[in-house]
Amino acid sequence: MSSELAPDQTPFDDGLTDSKAFLTRVDPRVKIIATLIWSILAASLENLAAAGLALGGALLALPFASWSFRNLAKRLSTINFFFLFMWLTLPFSFSTPGQALGAIGPLKVTLEGLTLAALLTLKGNAIVIAVIAVLGSSPLYVLAAASRSLRCPEKLVNLFLLAVRYLQIMFMEYARLRKAMRARGFKLNFSRNALNGAVFLIGSLLVRSFDRAERVHKAMISRGYKGVVWVRTDFTLQRRDFVFSLVSLFLLALIALGGFWWRII
């Protein structure tokens, strides 16, 4: 799991959205649809070759998005931590008659277990890298606006937009409280003292945010809020969107074919 955020760090300034990158300029509606189909297809793959192909396809998108190596590594390490766990359990616990490759102490290592762990890792990374490259290159509010024009429930989109805006403020509030605790020598280990500290932190956050919510609501009403959060939704398809769609379709077809072909033989 990831470590705690540094007090001054917010998760939002990751500098991944560079407006010059090709994928940033592609219509976000097209990107959402393509990533969804890609994710579902990749999740349903059942053989190593097709999963490897999917990972290759996802990696292909990276040069067209802006990303820093540090950020990518940080993001990939979170998901691969889970897969590390799968690598540590699956090869030793495969109970259908597996082909034993060798043994580490009393534990038998099976080929099937290793294959499954490899398959999961390839699939998972293929999906996550595609999400990072394609969706990660758009700011969250642009994605929200796009999903509204894709007929996503309006209330959900509004909630998302407002939540994203308030997250930054809540994070600052949290950082301030944490800093105050740190200055007084608080360490959040598992002791009665620390537990009380954590509870005070959560409780204060909730109480402060509730008060803030009331103020925000009054402020919004006084500025004519009637349940609509305004965002730009005047997207128009351009040539680069068709280029992106064609390339995505080609890759999707290739991988679907790879997945199916395997089943036939």
């Binding site: 889970f82 359990t89 998972g124 809540m170 598992f190």
Partner: protein
Amino acid sequence: MHISEGVLSLPVLLSGAALTTFGVALGLRRIGDENLPKTAVLTATFFTASFIHLNVGPSSVHLMLNGLIGLMMGWVAFPIVLIGLLIQGLLFQYGGLTTLGVNTFNVAGPGVLVGLLFHKAIYGPDTTKSSIFSFMAGFLAIALTALLVCVALLLTNPVNYKVAALTILASHVPVMFIEGAVALLVVRFLKKVKPELLVDPKWANK
């Protein structure tokens, strides 16, 4: 606690998505336009609170607070958790798009359940009863979430995911106690400091 991309089978992913869609639809219906900003601020708060890590031995657990969310928000927990996981998925890649349905249901479902079951006892004037039930709410919510994660894994691959599923379940036993204690203490704190946060049945538990 979140299941990664690429692990679950398509039928499991789709069932999770269907259950979550149902829960989110119910939750959204309970949010009136006038409560939208309030819900958004609380969503941001719960998301922020999930960054609090407690060091336990060599590792650290982060709080999920799904019992507390269920208690305070009722069915609205579904959209709140969905948005939290979506932002998390887009910004940090803990989970992702295909697992969003399953993960939202695993976290929000138990929260809503304990909220519906216990909120009367917890909101009541009896302090002992309130403490016991708020501990239970925090404890059970995590226990059920861990159980649902196991079920999702076992439905995908009943034989080979068994060890992984059992390891996940076992590793969450200490988390259950921590979340139980946190829920108990937070409820006690809120009752003292801002009781109206716990008695606003107009837009939560109904």
